[in-house]
Symmetry: C2
Subunit: 111 residues, 2 copies
């Protein structure tokens, strides 16, 4: 991922996932790529922005409702990734679910 | 920055700043460090999580109220950094302000 997400006017919802990876990360890259692909296929998905630098990563995904987030959280393949994350890949993480109320964008040359 | 933020129980607020940097970035690193330091001194600041990988960056700062966010947005030194960001450093960015409603954390060894 190296793109900003184009999202509609608020309100909508964001899942802010911040993590510090453990040294063990066999299979991590494939799983991360697969989760981005799979998230994009879910109902209510609006976009995703993700950056990792070594151990530390932030992924923010955007959704049109809390119900959509709940559906994604419970997706069977995603649950398996969550389990492997806790078993092996992550030293720690935070998940925060937030309602986006205001947004603004800047694109060079647009102003 | 290479740390996760410890934040209180929701509700609180998040500023999700996602950016793609232009090739010009003289002065950027110092400014970014200074903004993290300065944000931490503001009333209502709860924490910050930030990752950059090359051009793409995500910084999420946490605040106890919308008023605190508004105060930070209008801080004179921060406004100057915003101006320089638009003039030189950023190709594009999104700023989203969101109300955090749910959070959960995982720390290895805690479960």
């Amino acid at each position: 991922m190296s793109e900003l997400a184009s999202t509609p006017e608020p309100p909508y919802y964001a899942v802010i996932f911040t993590s510090r990876r453990a040294s063990e990360h066999e299979g991590y890259g494939d799983m991360a790529d697969r989760m981005v692909e799979l998230a994009g296929e879910q109902a209510g998905f609006l976009g995703i922005e993700s950056v990792r630098d070594g151990a530390m990563g932030i992924t923010v995904s955007y959704w049109n409702s809390m119900e959509a987030i709940d559906g994604w959280r419970k997706h069977v393949e995603h649950r398996e990734a969550q389990r492997r994350g806790r078993d092996a890949w992550y030293e720690e993480y935070n998940v925060r679910i937030a309602r986006v109320e205001i947004s603004r964008s800047f694109v060079r040359g647009d102003d």
